[in-house]
Amino acid sequence: MITAKNIWKRYNDQVVLERINISVNEGEFVTLVGASGCGKSTFLKMLLGIESPSTGDLLLDNQPIRTEPDSDRGIVFQHYSVFPHMTVLENVMAARAFARKGFSGYLFGQAKRDARTAALEILEQVGLSHAITRYPHELSGGMRQRLAIAQALLGKPRILLLDEPFGALDPGIRADMHQLVLDLWRTYKLTVFMVTHDLKEGFYLGTRLWVFDKVRHDPQAPSAYGATITYDLPIGKIDTSLYEQIDNQLRPVIIPDEPSMETPTHD
């Protein structure tokens, strides 16, 4: 479904991504991890169409991908993914309104009633039925992201892009969100790309894990080389030692051989 052919991405002199060659099938759930600033969001932006590769081709169904956002590709960002001036219900109904041709983006009459029904249904599904008249700023972070996901799904995208969707959430409530995303992924048969900074999360959720990293370094010119996909792992085929190797690369600790349980003696 999606194919990247030797993609490079530069901003001015800075190479952000290089030699990206991948191919993703319909229905896969890809999680992307990597150090901060290595280009994960940039890759998602190319999938979304708001950035273009500097060289190389990014194909969707063997066609160059559209270079502006459209309803094929839904997105949930870490922040600002819902419309702050609409209630929960309006946010979701707006997704329906935008899907219709029209000038104002407002719905009337039967179309409005239909949208309402559909919206209530999906809000039920994401567990927001009790909060439909609230504004986003009255929601907790978790509820806000549920709303963003519900909204994105109403656009009926084939591909769902998630850029650290739970990065701002309290770890205590993430498990629920994971469950939700997995349920929806199964129900709607989506292709999902999800960036996360938490290897455990990426590992637990995806069917396929990509690790972004720089393989070449020039100490004189740190921006001369970009990151690429150093691991492309089908989940379930990763053994513990590889997991720990990647984890250490992402979250080094001082005593790498006894990373957690052992108490260091300070004095």
């Binding site: 590709r73 997105i75 419309f83 702050p84 707006a94 983006g105 700023h137």
Partner: protein, 272 residues
């Protein structure tokens, strides 16, 4: 003893403290006025409060012998009409220009330089031309306010539009929205409270232009009256008028603030 930096007055003492300087000003005025009137009972510069009260009641409570109108209220009503109409026009036009130039890069590139130039021109210097284009009726006064304020509002709204997270525009587009839908459904409503803020900020300038315009071509209005009696230095009329304008400005400001809170409950300062 705490550092003075850390001493916070209670609500009640804050209120008292806040009233203190205002009271002091009033007392100082009364003393100065008494001293001058003592020296010269005909002095017009600092009339006593009772003189001002008389002048005010003459204008506000006694019908004018010739026209039967209550001058003070007629002036107030005329000025408010002009001010509100002018601000309304400035707000609408400014909103439209700001939205389009802020949201559409093509429009922004085309009109931003023009707006920048226009915003730098002091409108008072252009008054003669204005009167010729818009005539001398109500229109020209309203036009001066509108022309003076619009560039400010347009630039402010333009900046505000650009501050709206790009994520929202992208999100709307991934839901299938076209340009018009993004403008009308996503951006416009979010700009409304910002527009009210911009209007509040520019009300002071609005009053200035109103007074300036009324001074030149008018037969009523608060600015007209001040200008008219200024020749005789009738401070007993001018001061109540100035106080009244200050008061009106305060009320308008508060009303707009209230309106913003009521109409846009989702608008929280600082966003989320």
């Amino acid at each position: 003893m705490k550092r003075i930096l850390n001493i916070k007055p209670s609500r009640f003492s804050a209120l008292c403290l806040g009233l203190l300087p205002l009271l002091i000003c009033v007392v100082i005025y009364m003393i100065a006025s008494d001293l001058r009137l003592e020296a010269n009972p005909n002095d017009k510069l600092l009339p006593s409060f009772s003189q001002m009260g008389e002048a005010w009641s003459r204008m506000a409570l006694t019908p004018n012998v010739r026209t039967g109108e209550y001058i003070f209220w007629v002036d107030t009503w005329s000025s408010l009409q002009r001010l509100l109409l002018g601000m309304l026009i400035a707000a609408s036009v400014g909103l439209l220009i700001g939205l389009l130039t802020g949201a559409l890069p093509l429009m922004g590139a085309t009109f931003s330089p023009l707006i920048t130039v226009l915003s730098l021109i002091p409108p008072l210097a252009l008054l003669p031309i204005l009167f010729i284009v818009f005539g001398l009726g109500e229109l020209s006064k309203v036009a001066l306010i509108a022309i003076g304020i619009t560039p400010f509002i347009a630039r402010d709204i333009q900046r505000r539009t650009q501050e709206i997270p790009i994520e929202q525009l992208i999100k709307a587009q991934t839901l299938g929205a076209n340009t018009a839908q993004v403008l009308i459904r996503v951006l416009l409503p979010q700009l409304m409270p910002k527009l009210l803020d911009a209007v509040r900020l520019s009300l002071g300038a609005g009053w200035l232009f109103l007074i300036a315009a009324e001074a030149i071509a008018s037969t009523d209005g608060l600015g007209y009256r001040i200008f008219l009696v200024r020749r005789y230095m009738s401070m007993d009329v001018i001061l109540p008028y100035v106080a009244w304008i200050t008061c009106l400005a305060f009320i308008l400001d508060q009303v707009l603030a209230l309106l913003s809170r009521k109409l846009f409950p989702w608008h929280v300062k600082g966003g989320h």
